[in-house]
Structure formats: C-alpha cells, structure tokens
C-alpha cells in the first residue's frame, strides 16, 4: 500500500480523499478514508502533507525502493536466514 493511514490518529476529515490528484483515496460509507486504487498512487505526498492529524505516511512498492550506497540495511530490515 503506497499510503498508510493510521486509523487511530485519523480524524475522518476527508481532506486526503478531497485533495488526492489521482482520485486514489475515497471515503467509505462509514466515513473512513480508503486507498481504493493503490496502483494509481503518484506518491506525490499531497495527502501526507495536508493531513492535519499527521495520520498518513508514505511507502514505496518493492520495485520502487531507494537503496543507499554504500549499501546498508535500512531501518526496517530484519535478519535474513538461508
């Protein structure tokens, strides 16, 4: 999921769905934001920037990952077993 919305922090204001330039986020009948079209996310960050509750974070799909040089295991890496 390109956009992660923290349900606990979300104040259900609808700004993310209102501002999304690609119409990716919709409000459900229960008035909760839903990332309905994750493959159409532009990763522009509009929802994250404009979220007043700071409930939104952005993540990249596996094929878009930024890999640092010199290579180091980034923060979320876990141990790897063969």
């Amino acid at each position: 999921m390109p956009v992660k919305i923290d349900r606990k922090k979300c104040v259900q204001c609808g700004t993310c769905a209102d501002h999304c330039p690609e119409d990716v986020i919709v409000m459900t009948k229960a008035n909760r934001p839903q990332v309905k079209y994750p493959n159409e996310c532009w990763h522009c960050g509009a929802c994250m920037i404009d979220c007043r509750a700071k409930a939104i974070d952005i993540a990249l799909p596996l094929f878009m990952r930024l890999i640092p040089e010199p290579y180091h295991k980034t923060l979320k890496d876990s141990s790897r077993e063969y």
Binding site: H19, E40, C44, M64, R65, E69, T74
Partner: protein, 579 residues
C-alpha cells in the same frame, strides 16, 4: 435499457480547462477582467498539475539584478533561444521573459514566501542559475503554492469545478463555443458554453505513453509528471481541427533509479552539493558550486547523457552524490527538495529508511521518456496564445514549441492567454449555442454509457500495458520508416481490438484517458514517420531516425504541424522565427 446520464449546463464567458499553474492564473486574470470565468479541473485544483506538491524554482528576468550586469531582457530571450538551438516560439518566449517576475509578485500577494532575510541580493531573493547563463532562477517556498493559488481563484470570483474531465470541444461556425465533460465522481455529463476557452492541459506524462511497465507491477504510476496528464487537451483540440506541433520529439531523462523523481539530477534542486559519479568514484558531473554566479552555460544544458554513456561503457552504476557538500549546502538542497514536487515524499521515505544525503548516495538511471521540456509538443499558437481554431486559446505546457518554458511559462502565459482571450471575445458576436440534445453531447453520452455498461471488457490497465509496449519498441530508439509503419499497424490493431470496460466513474476517466493516449500515440508515430532527419538539441537526440541519421537544417529546422481535415491528417511546416 441504459439509464441516461444527468446533464448539467454551465454558461460562462471564459472557460479554463485544467487547474494547474497556468489554469489558476488564467482564471484569476479572467475574473479580474470582469469575464464570467469557470475553471474545470480533472482532480482538485488545490493539489493538481505538475506543481501539485510544489515547485522550488522559477526562472524570470530580474531587472534590478541582471540590469546592472549589462544583461538585458533581449539577452535573456537570445540566451534561452541559444540553449534550445533556436527551436522555440520567439513571441511566447518574450511573453514569458517579460511577465514571469510580475506573476511571481502576484504569488507573493497570495501569501507565497519569495524573499529571505539572509539574501544579500536586491529584493532579498535567493537566486540560482538554472537554464540561462545568468543567476535568474528564484528558489522559494513553493510547496503549497497550488493551495494558495486555488484559493485565490475563488476569492477573485472565478468558479472552480473539480473532478470533471473535459473530453471534447464543441465547434460552431468554425469557432470553439464550449466543451463537454464527464464527472469523475458523479454520474453526470457537463456542458460548458463559453465565448472563449483556454486549454491549460499540460504535456503528456511520458511514462504513460512510453515506459515499459514492470512485469506484474500492475502498472504503478511511477512517473515524474502527473499520471493524469494523458494528452486530453491535444486530443480534443486535434479532433476539433486545431494544429498540433512537435509531437514527434522526445528525450530520456535521468531520475533516481526505481523511484522516478529528481528533475534535473544531479543538479537543480540537488545543487550546490549534488554531483554525478560512477561506480569507481569518478566524477562525471562535478558539483555546481557556481550555481550562485553567472556562467557561460545553464546547468539544465549540462550533458546529462554522459551519465548514460557511463553505463554503456561499463562504469555503472551511477550515483547522485551529495556527501562532499558542506552542511550548509546540504541543508540548502534539502530545503529546495522539500518545495519541489514530490520532494517531501522523497525526504520522508529517506527518513523512514534511515537514508541521509550526508553519508548515503542514491542511484540514478535512465528515467521516464520526456515529451515536454526540450521536445515541447503541443498545440500550435500565435503570439496571443491563440490556436488555429478561433476561440481556442492555450497556455502552459499545452502550448507547442516552447521548450523549457517550465513553471514561468505556465504562470506567465496563463495570465497572458486570459488577457488576450477576453480582449478577443469582446470583439466577437455572441457564439452559437449548443444544447444537451446536440449530436456531440449524445455521442459523448453514448460513449460513456457503453463503457459503463460493458461486461467482460478490457480493463484500462491492459490497454495501458499494450500501448506502452508498442510505443517503447517502435517509437523510440529503433525508429526507421519500416519500424514506425509497423508501430502504426500495431497501434491500429490495438485500437480496433480494445473494448474497455468501466465499472464506475473513476474507471470511466481512466478509459477516456486511454482513448486520448491512443490518439496521441498515432500522432506521435505519424510525426516520427514524417520528420525524415535526426534532430538534436545541444547534442542530445530529441528525434533519432536510424535511416536518416543526419540533422537536416535546410529542410527540417522548423516545427512539423498536424491537423485533421475531412477525416485525414494534414501536415505542414511552421518556421520557428515567425510561428
């Protein structure tokens, strides 16, 4: 029995299609001039267009800074013209050069921060060198400028209608008298009746035309330019009879590897710290430490294809390296990146992953194909931003023949097109009206209903992958007469066999976008076939024909225009000096 779509008729003097930088300024100026102005936007004007999440730099002519150095406005026009080897619309370039600073000051009045206490320059601007040879590009807090501009549109009295996709222009007696659109979130057809119309519908986001989607990726929108930029304006203008130019041009960008962002890498937002290095630490593009002083070259013209050559010669991977910058320089870059579109996302992802420009390099690679920038394909206009169709004006990246117009091109020509279109409409009689039962409206409704009603049709994503495969193979690096003709046959086959299905209004928008991409693809290939030469700007190919490897200035230092006449495409050559 298909259920008809509800129809809404909206009357106005000035219709502005597209609510990015150009569209917002067009609507603001139109309303200021007393025209009843309506701005229609496919997304939400608060965060739409190429500047949705910001622009950190806008070039302009600053008389109080360039003047004392003996660099005149004429020099700027000549300088920019030289940077694109003369392939530019002179009148429009002059409009941008003369007006960009006034528009920047308008932005300041809307609340955009453009002056900084620490600056030692007159006006307290922070300026860097970008395209031209002098330090004339403003670095500023542009991240939220779209929000400020869209609010200003309403404040000035223009009406803003979001989430409506305009798909067709309506022509009566040879004049554009309005447009037809469809709701992206509501089941409605919208009819806009106007005295003049300005298309501010952007370039085509190159990735949606050319890039090979990753296998199994489901076609993520990993694109530099907005995915919604699908050539809608070019398609509707062509169908209505307007001339388009430069559609055959394209070039490759360098972006971050995997995450297609970072316009201007390793420079622009990444200067003065950024440098381009190869796998062995060899510096291919040294840091632009002189970004704050005049030079004989603009950094935008730095030979970025050297980065790609490095890969071809076995010295890859290549990296964008800020690690040799001072702390001040890196902080300056981070400020710029924050305000450049998508930059806030980039920095957040880096923060989440523990990646830091102070110690880590990021890999670069050949990125998405660019149809704007140096190529500048779009609608052909005169010096008043007026297309060849009376009543149809154009602004921003949708205008053909203005390479590297960029953000200043949008803000300056948006405003200017509104001024010229309102003056034009005031000299005309009232336009002929069209009504919901007219042929064009019924055609649009029937198209939408058939897409919405179809069962077991093709999802738009399947058509997207098929189009990309064709364009990537036949329309880029292997172009010959036979290859392009084969590409056209493939495209014809695709067009005939595509039966799209839309399960809701959102998918209806995507399906209509695919139709527009198909039409633009045909024009791109036909332009490629017609231009029998290889064309370069500053040694970079913008059109490579393997069967015509030489540049032919005698016959082709001009724009190639295409228009529809009696169901056939008619080509014409348009000189750059006088277009």
């Amino acid at each position: 029995m298909k259920k008809a779509l509800e129809k809404t008729v909206i009357d106005c003097d000035l219709l502005v299609v597209g609510g990015g930088l150009a569209g917002c300024f067009a609507a603001i100026k139109g309303a200021d001039l007393g025209a009843k102005t309506v701005l229609v936007e496919k997304a939400n004007a608060l965060r739409s267009g190429a500047a949705a999440t910001g622009v950190d730099h806008i070039w302009a002519y600053f008389p109080e800074i360039q003047g004392p150095r003996g660099y005149t406005l004429d020099d700027l026009v000549k300088d920019h013209t030289d940077k694109v080897d003369g392939m530019i619309h002179q009148d429009i370039l002059r409009v941008i050069s003369e007006n960009a600073l006034d528009r920047i000051h308008d932005l300041e009045r809307m609340g955009v921060k453009i002056r900084y206490e620490q600056s030692k320059l007159p006006g307290k601007y922070i300026l860097v060198r970008q395209i031209q040879s002098v330090v004339n590009t403003l670095n500023f807090d542009g991240r939220d400028m779209k929000i400020q501009m869209a609010k200003e549109v309403k404040k000035r009295g223009a009406k803003c209608i979001n989430r409506v996709m305009i798909n067709d222009l309506v022509v009566r007696d040879g004049r554009v008298v309005g447009a037809i659109g469809v709701g992206v979130r509501d089941r409605k057809i919208y009819l806009f009746r106007s005295k003049a119309t300005i298309l501010c519908t952007a370039r085509i986001s190159g990735g949606r035309m050319f890039n090979e989607p990753g296998p199994g990726s489901g076609m993520a929108f990993n694109l530099r330019w907005p995915p919604s930029e699908t050539g809608d304006g070019k398609a509707m203008a062509f169908k209505a009879g307007a001339e388009l130019i430069n559609l055959e041009f394209s070039h490759h960008r360098v972006n971050f590897k995997n995450f297609v962002r970072g316009g201007g890498l390793p420079y622009n937002s990444y200067s003065p710290a950024g440098q381009g290095i190869n796998a062995f630490g060899g510096v291919i593009m040294p840091p632009e430490k002189e970004v704050f002083s005049d030079s004989t070259h603009g950094i935008y013209n730095a030979p970025k294809h050297r980065l790609i050559d490095e890969l071809m010669q076995g010295r890859g991977p290549i990296y964008c390296d800020l690690t040799t910058g001072t702390e001040d320089e890196i902080q300056f870059c981070e400020w710029s990146i924050t305000h450049e579109g998508g930059g806030t996302s980039l920095l957040r992802i880096m923060q989440n992953e523990g990646i830091d420009f102070r110690k880590d390099r990021l890999e670069m690679g050949p990125g998405e194909v660019e149809l704007g920038n140096f190529g500048a394909g779009g609608i052909y206009v005169d010096g008043d931003c007026h297309s060849t169709l009376p009543g149809l004006f154009v602004a921003g990246d949708e205008m053909g023949g203005v390479p590297l117009g960029c953000a200043p091109g949008a803000i300056a020509t948006g405003w200017y097109a509104a001024e010229k279109s309102v003056a034009w409409m005031n000299r005309q009689a009232s336009p002929a009206q069209f009504v919901p039962r007219d042929e064009e409206v019924e055609r649009m409704e029937s198209l939408c209903l058939s897409l919405l009603a179809r069962k077991n049709g093709h999802p738009w994503q399947e058509a997207q992958v098929a189009l990309n495969r064709i364009m990537n193979y036949y329309g880029l690096k292997l172009k010959t007469e036979k290859m392009i003709q084969r590409g056209l046959e493939n495209l014809d086959d695709l067009t005939r066999h595509t039966d799209l299905e839309a399960r809701n209004q959102h998918e209806l928008m995507r399906c209509l976008e695919m139709h527009n991409l198909f039409l633009n693809a045909e024009l791109i290939l036909r332009g490629n076939l017609e231009r029998k030469e290889t064309r370069k700007i500053k040694s970079m190919n913008i059109h490579l024909r393997l069967d015509y490897p030489e540049q032919d200035d005698e016959h082709w230092k001009c724009a190639l225009s295409q228009r529809l006449e009696n169901g056939k495409i008619v080509f014409a050559k348009r000189p750059f000096r006088t277009i």
